[in-house]
Structures are given as structure tokens and as C-alpha cells.
Symmetry: C2
Subunit: 109 residues, 2 copies
DNA sequence: GGCCACTATTCAGTGTCACTATCTACCGGT
DNA sequence: ACCGGTAGATAGTGACACTGAATAGTGGCC
């Protein structure tokens, strides 16, 4: 990724992953593949795993180890109540930022 | 600011300031006041000054020292051609990110 | 004449985050 | 036995916004 995008993702990537988990439980490798599909072609796998560990330690997700037919067991993450609350806050903050930016883009005031 | 917003601002605040300078030349204290008016109530002054020094060193802005009627001289920053190009790139990246986020928010796919 | 408020900038130290690079581990096919 | 795909962990790095304090000029008030 360009450095600009890397910096922009700080704080946002966390929200993106939580938003994905709000739709359905998922595991790291799956999330990485999904992101690549959606155009985030260069997000390193290591980044996602580190992020998942972080949100687990903060108590936003519940974790379950599930055996895989292929390869080692998966760690499936499920968003819990605390995580949902944090995601709500994320969307509020994102909206605030996005609105200001949009105003700025169109000549502003 | 909440920590969430602090992280989201990384990379974005730079774009915000460049966007302001795209509208008109400005100096640090002025930009800080403007941001506070626009709802970024808790952005520290020190943050803006550090950012201005950074974009100056990268060559995105031209600087002129202008005496002030009140207080010490101002450092007035003007966006130059390089800065404008960088700002264009910022808007492209921002659009990309904002679109993905918007898709995610509405149930996604 | 000393103090305070406002204007204006600088700087050292801190925490957080995404990235890089590398490592472990399990499976199937050849 | 080897390799490619699946799945996860981790130490070290760089960039950025924040904290908190310092510096410095001007004007008004008592």
C-alpha cells in the first residue's frame, strides 16, 4: 500500500474488521481473503492477526477454536455486546469525520 | 479526543490541513481555531504545528513570515504544486476508503 | 510598573497502530 | 520426500497524534 493509505487505515482497519464480524463470525485467514477481494490488495496477513489479538484482549470478541479440514485449527471470532457498542461508537466517529471531509472537498466554508 | 478518533485522524488530519490550505493560505494558530469551530474541539495546538513542519519539510507548502498586529510573527503556509498533487492523491485514497466503509455499513456483501 | 489574557510557535517524550519479515504447523497431491 | 495452500504467531520498525511545558510578543487593567 502507499504510505498514505497505511496511515489512513490506522484506527479504521479495526472498525472494518469489527464491521465484518458484525455480519457473521469469521477467522483471520478468511478476513484477509475477504479484504483482498474487496480491493485492499496489500494488507499483510500479519496485520490482521495482530489486530484480532488486540480486539480479543480488549474483550470485543469471543473466540472459539474450530478444527479445519485443511490445515491447522481456526480461531473463529464472534462480536459480543461490548464489541457491538464499540462498533457503534466507531460508526458515529466515522460519520463525523466523513461529513467534515465531504464539506472540505466541496469548497468548504 | 477519544482514542478512536485520535487513531482515525492519523493520515487524515494531514489531508484535512492540506485541504484547508488549498482554499487559502493560512498560519498555524488560524488553522487550529478553524478546526475547533468545525467541531474538532480537542485537537491539540502542538499537533497542528508539528504537522505543518512536516509538510513543509516534504515540500508540499511554501512558507512566508508575516508580522502580526498582535503577538509574534506568523508563519503563513501556501499550498504549492507538489502539495496539490499530494492532496489529489489523498482524495483518491479517501474516496476508496469511504466507499468500502459505506458498503460495509449497509450490510455489505 | 507588574500582572494577566490573548496571540503564536516550538519541542521532548509517550502510546498506538500498520507494516515487514520470519517462523511454526497441518494437510493433500505428486 | 517435497511443495503449495491453509492457518496463525511474533519481534522489530516507522509514522503519527497527543501531552505538557516552554518561549515570546502585544495590549489592557489595576
Amino acid at each position: 500500500m502507499g504510505k498514505q493509505v497505511t496511515e489512513m487505515l490506522k484506527g479504521t482497519l479495526e472498525g472494518i474488521v469489527l464491521a465484518i464480524l458484525a455480519g457473521r463470525p469469521a477467522y483471520g485467514y478468511e478476513i484477509t481473503s475477504w479484504l483482498r477481494d474487496k480491493g485492499f490488495t496489500e494488507i499483510a496477513e500479519g496485520t490482521i492477526y495482530a489486530l484480532l489479538i488486540r480486539i480479543e484482549q480488549r474483550g470485543y470478541v469471543d473466540v472459539e477454536k474450530v478444527p479445519s479440514e485443511k490445515g491447522p485449527p481456526r480461531k473463529v471470532y464472534t462480536l459480543n455486546a461490548q464489541g457491538r457498542a464499540y462498533l457503534d461508537e466507531f460508526w458515529r466517529n466515522w460519520s463525523f469525520l466523513a461529513e467534515r471531509l465531504e464539506q472540505l472537498r466541496k469548497g468548504d466554508g
